[in-house]
């Protein structure tokens, strides 16, 4: 479904990614593992069009889509849950989700379905989004992505700073999306969790893919080495 070939990304003169190759299959959950600054977020941002890359380097259903705008990628079905949630403080919980729904793709996921699945959010739907607890905010951020009905959902550090209970809630929601056949890419600090949730994994180090494999067969020693770069 998604094929990344020879992807290089730059911030001005600084090169953040070096000829990255990877793929995500239909319905698959892929984990991206790497230390801070390895280039994981840049990779996700390149896929949604927030960082401009060459057209051929990102192929979605065989079509070269690299460098297209965020709106075009959203219409194709690629949506990012950004690191740090990035909810709109001036908008209520409901407005945050409805705004995304209006600009997304039609499909099963909509605001009402999410409020039905997450009654705790329904209760606070008219509060400013950033007045909620971290865990609830993360659920809003994921909901905001789900209502665009993506085919490929990119999650950047969705469990960072959350309580264990909140992390479970976040993954319960993601697994509901996966049961619908949505493909998911996880960027996760918690390597154990990432490997437990994912089908396959890639380790990124200093902008390069240094290790990849099937999550269930991952050699934790090798992953740790790839992570720390020893």
């Amino acid at each position: 479904m998604l094929r990344v070939e020879q992807l290089s990304a730059y911030y001005g003169l600084f090169q953040a990614l070096f000829e990255v190759d990877l793929r995500v299959d239909e319905g698959e959950c892929m984990a991206l593992i790497g230390a801070n600054g390895a280039g994981k977020s840049t990779l996700l941002r390149s896929l949604v069009g927030a960082v401009k890359v060459s057209a051929d380097s990102v192929q979605f259903d065989g079509e070269a889509v690299g460098g297209a705008s965020e709106r075009k990628q959203l219409k194709r079905g690629i949506t990012l849950v950004p690191e740090g949630r990035r909810l709109f403080p001036s908008l209520s919980v409901r407005e945050n989700i409805e705004l995304a729904q209006r600009h997304g793709r039609p499909g099963r996921w909509d605001t009402e379905l999410l409020f039905q699945e997450l009654p705790a959010l329904a209760e606070v739907q008219n509060r400013p989004a950033t007045a909620l607890s971290g865990g609830q905010q993360q659920l809003v951020a994921i909901s905001r992505a789900l209502v665009t009905n993506p085919r490929l959902l990119l999650c950047d550090e969705v469990s960072l700073g959350l309580s264990p209970y909140a992390v479970d809630e976040v993954y319960r929601l993601l697994n509901m999306a996966r049961q619908d056949g949505m493909s998911v890419v996880l960027v996760e600090q918690n390597v154990q969790r990432a490997l437990a949730e994912a089908d396959r994994f890639y380790c990124v180090q200093k902008g390069r893919v240094v290790l990849d494999g099937v999550a269930a067969e991952a050699d934790h020693h090798a992953v740790a080495n790839a992570y720390f770069g020893v």
Partner: protein
């Protein structure tokens, strides 16, 4: 005592017009993070457009708005599409320089087309009519202007806080990058916003032209009053702009009681004092 009350009321009515000048500036600052130096010149441009229509048709200034409003919307839309969008999101200096240049272009264009002579829009009987309330004389025209200003603020507040477009606008104001991630077309939104800003400018310009004579170089003074209203009320606070305008209006007319020539000076003085005491403005930043 009664004359003081009259000055106060007239100051509020004048201030409501200044607030209407500021509403567009408040929106471009609050949402697009852009200072439009040509804002005052666009107000004067609107007044000249109305003047041309009034001279060439049987429309009066207020009905000329039927033509001026769509024209100004298109001008705003085009300015944003062709010029402003090219410099937005870089550094704050680029839009500043660009609109400074635009201000000079508009002033010279008006001078070239209409000469440096002052003009005014014929207000007819409205200019002379007044009502007396308990010994206080209030002009009908200022009253109508203030009424329109209040309606404009209510409409914009509703648009920003309650409508789907408003939530997109607030999202962009909060975090433009993330707004793009959820599919908001920020550049198209900005073009419509700029068009809408010039609609408020069109209304303000006609009311202004009916009240005060204007000339091609009157723009910068309008810009300063608008800017003072916006900053006094607190950046990004719509109703703050409204009350900021009222304060400037009252200060000017109270000042003019002391010396007729010192009205604007007292407006600036109040602005300066507030800026020193509360640099963030009188009201905290609220919704758009």
């Amino acid at each position: 005592m009664l004359s003081l009350l009259e000055t106060l009321i007239n100051g509020l009515l004048l201030g409501a017009l200044y607030a209407l000048f500021g509403i567009g500036l408040s929106l471009s600052l609050g949402v697009m993070r852009m200072i439009n130096i040509a804002h005052g010149d666009l107000i004067v441009l609107g007044a000249y457009l109305s003047s041309v229509i009034v001279l060439n048709t049987d429309l009066d200034p207020l009905s000329s708005l039927l033509i001026v409003i769509p024209m100004m919307f298109v001008i705003g839309w085009l300015l944003q599409k062709l010029l402003f969008n090219r410099v937005m999101g870089r550094d704050p200096l680029s839009p500043l320089l660009l609109t400074f240049g635009l201000s000079i272009v508009i002033q010279n264009l008006l001078q070239e087309l209409f000469s440096a002579d002052t003009r005014s829009l014929p207000a007819g009987d409205l200019a002379l009519q007044g009502i007396e309330l308990g010994g206080v004389n209030i002009g009908v025209l200022p009253l109508i202007s203030a009424g329109i200003s209040v309606l404009a603020f209510l409409f914009v507040a509703h648009l920003i806080n309650r409508s789907p477009i408003g939530s997109a606008v607030r999202a962009v104001a909060d975090d433009q990058e993330t707004a793009r991630l959820v599919g908001v077309n920020d550049r198209r939104l900005f073009a419509y916003m700029a068009g809408f800003v010039l609609v408020t400018v069109a209304v303000a310009s006609v009311l202004y032209g009916m009240r005060t004579p204007f000339s091609p170089t009157a723009g910068p003074e309008r810009l300063i009053y608008s800017f003072e209203a916006v900053v006094l009320g607190g950046l990004g606070n719509l109703w703050g702009t409204f009350f900021g305008g009222l304060i400037i209006g009252v200060a000017q007319l109270l000042g003019a009681r002391i010396d007729t020539g010192l009205g604007p000076f007292f407006g600036h003085l109040v602005f300066l004092v507030v800026l020193i005491a509360r640099p963030e403005g009188l009201f905290k930043a609220g919704r758009a």
